[in-house]
Symmetry: C2
C-alpha cells in the first residue's frame, strides 16, 4: 500500500516513517494489515539521506500550496495520508498569509487529493492544543470549548472541521488529534515560547547550562516523541466509527512541573557531564505559560486506547536512547 507523510522531513514525520517501516504494515482498504510498499516523505525541505536508505521510502520536495503537485504526490493509488505539514504557531502569527496558504489551503489540497484517490484513504491530521485559547481551564478535557486565539489555532480548528466534513461525506476516512507540547525535541533551541520545556532536559544533557525562564512550579501538558508516534499509529489503525460524528479528539498530555523535570534530569542514569539548571523568571514567558493548560485529560482518548506518558524519567531515558545513543 502507498502511504504519504506530509511534513515527512520533520522531526515527528521522520520518526513516524521509521516506525511504519519497522512495523511494515498498516490497515489498508481491505480492513486487514497490508504491506507498506511505497512511503512518501513530502515536505518543503529534503529529509536527511539516512532516512532514505530503505527501498520502500522516497522523498518528494515541494510546496503543499501547489494543488497540482499535491495531487501528484497523493495520487489515486494512495491508501493513507499522515498530514503533519504546517507553518507552526509563531510562524503563522508572524506571516499571516503564509500561515493560511499552508495550513488552510494546503490542508484543503491534501483533502481534495485524498478524495480523488481510488477507495477512501485514511487521513490522520495533526491538530494542536492551540485550538484552546484565552482563559483555558487548568485541565483541558473533551468538553472544553474550542476558542483559538492565534491564527495557527484557527487554522487547526478549520482543518478539523474539514476532516470531519469530508469524512461525513465519505470522501476520506479522516481522523484528527490535538497534540500536547512534544518534549524532548532534539536539536537547537527554537523561539517557541514552549521551547524551554525541551531545553530544560536537552541542554543539560548536552553539557550546556540551562536558564529556565519560568518558575519550578510551572506545569505543562507534554507528550514524548515515542508516545506521539504511537498515537499516530493508533489513530490510523482505529475503526473510525468509534470516533463519533466529530473526527477530532483531544490527546491526554502528561503534566510535569519544570522543577520535577530538572530533578529528573539530575537523577537520570547517564555518564554524560550535565550542565547546570537555574530558574530566572522572564515575566513575559511566565505570563504566556501561565495561560496554558496545566494538563489535558481526554476520557475519549483513554476509552479508545490512546497511550500517554506517565513518568518524566522514562521520557528522559528514551530521549537519551533515541537521540544521544
Amino acid at each position: 500500500m502507498k502511504v504519504v507523510i506530509t511534513g515527512g522531513a520533520g522531526f515527528i514525520g521522520r520518526k513516524l516513517a521509521q516506525r511504519i517501516l519497522a512495523r511494515g504494515t498498516l490497515t489498508g482498504a481491505s480492513g486487514q494489515a497490508e504491506a507498506v510498499t511505497d512511503l512518501v516523505l513530502f515536505d518543503a525541505v529534503a529529509p536527511p539521506d539516512e532516512e532514505l536508505t530503505d527501498q520502500r521510502v522516497r522523498a518528494v520536495t515541494g510546496d503543499i500550496t501547489d494543488a497540482g503537485l499535491v495531487a501528484e504526490v497523493i495520487d489515486i493509488h494512495t491508501d493513507s495520508v499522515f498530514h503533519l505539514a504546517a507553518v507552526v504557531s509563531a510562524g503563522a502569527e508572524a506571516e499571516f498569509d503564509l500561515g493560511y496558504q499552508v495550513n488552510l489551503d494546503g490542508t484543503h489540497n491534501v483533502l481534495e487529493a485524498a478524495r480523488a484517490a481510488d477507495g477512501t484513504p485514511r487521513v490522520v491530521f495533526a491538530s494542536s492544543l492551540a485550538v484552546y485559547g484565552g482563559a483555558v481551564p487548568d485541565t483541558v478535557v473533551d468538553e472544553t470549548p474550542i476558542t483559538p486565539e492565534t491564527s495557527y489555532g484557527a487554522q487547526k480548528v478549520i482543518g478539523e472541521f474539514l476532516i470531519t466534513d469530508y469524512s461525513r461525506k465519505g470522501y476520506i476516512d479522516g481522523r484528527a488529534m490535538r497534540l500536547p507540547t512534544i518534549v524532548v525535541r532534539p536539536g537547537k533551541p527554537n523561539k517557541a515560547a514552549s521551547g524551554f520545556a525541551s531545553g530544560i532536559i536537552r541542554e543539560p544533557l548536552n553539557g550546556v547550562d540551562m536558564v529556565c525562564p519560568v518558575t519550578p512550579e510551572s506545569r505543562m501538558a507534554i507528550m514524548s516523541p515515542r508516545t506521539v508516534v504511537e498515537c499516530f499509529m493508533h489513530m490510523h489503525e482505529l475503526d473510525s466509527t468509534r470516533l463519533g460524528a466529530s473526527r477530532a479528539i483531544l490527546l491526554s498530555g502528561f503534566s510535569v512541573s519544570m522543577g520535577d523535570a530538572a530533578a529528573a534530569v539530575q537523577a537520570v542514569e547517564t555518564n554524560r557531564t550535565r550542565g547546570r539548571i537555574t530558574f530566572e523568571v522572564d515575566p513575559q514567558i511566565q505570563a504566556i505559560v501561565d495561560g496554558w493548560p496545566k494538563t489535558t485529560s481526554s476520557a475519549q482518548a483513554a476509552d479508545l486506547g490512546f497511550p500517554s506518558d506517565s513518568n518524566i524519567g522514562e521520557v528522559i531515558s528514551a530521549y537519551i536512547e533515541d537521540e544521544l545513543g
Copy 2:
C-alpha cells in the same frame, strides 16, 4: 460612507438595504454616524428594479468566488460589509464543491478585500444554527458546543473562525451572528425541510390550503424578517470590544409550535380569504425537525441588546403589512 451587502438581491439582503437607506446613516470609521452615500448590492443575480430607484444604491452582479471582482466591489473605500451571500443548506449538501467555493473561498475573498481597504471595515457575517448538529439540546444556549453535521454548518463555523481571526489581527472589525430560521419567508414554497414553518402562515393567507408535515406540538426557533434586519443593524453598530475574543454570537429565536402558528393565522385580523391548515405527518420531515433545537436562548445577545420576537401574532401581522400590503 460605502457599504456593500453580499447576497444583496436576496430576501434579507434587500430588506436590510431598505432599512439602511431609510435610516440614512451607519457608524463609520470615525465612530460617529456617517451618511451612507454608496450602497452596493452584490449578488449572483440582479435585484428587482424597484430596489434600485434610490440614487445611493447600485447593483453589481457577479461571482463571489472571483477574488478580483470581489476586490473591485469591496474596494479600498469600503467602510462596511454585510456578508450574507451563501449557497444554502440543502444546496451545499447537494453540491459539495460549489458549497466550499462560495461559502469558504467566497468568504475568504470578502475578508481579503475588506482587509485591503483603507481603515478597518466593519464586516457583519450571517452565520446559522446549522453550526449545531447531532444530538442538540432542546434549548441551544451560548455554551452549546459547535458540532456541525452538514457542509453548510461546517462552512459557517469556518467563516466564524476566520471573522474572529481577521478581527484579532486588526485587519477587519468583524462580527458574526447565528440566525434562527427566518419566518415568514415570502414567495413560493422551497425545498428546505424548514419550509413549512413559513408555509403554514404564508399559504393560508394566500388562500391556499396548507398541509403541515409535522405535528401541531412540533416547536421551532424562529426569527421574523423585521427582527433579523434589526439584529444586523444592531450588530453593525455595536462596539465590537463588547463581543469578547470570539466575534461570533448566537441570536435568541422565538419558540413557536406549529399548532400555535396555525391558530394565530386564523386569529389574525385580515379580510383575506384564508386557506385551510391540516396536519399530516411526514415521518421523514418529522424526524429532521425533531432533531432541531426547540429554541435558542442567548444571554450574551440579551446583554448586548439584540431584539428577539415574542408574539407569533405580531410576526404574522408584520408579514401581512410588509409583503401583502
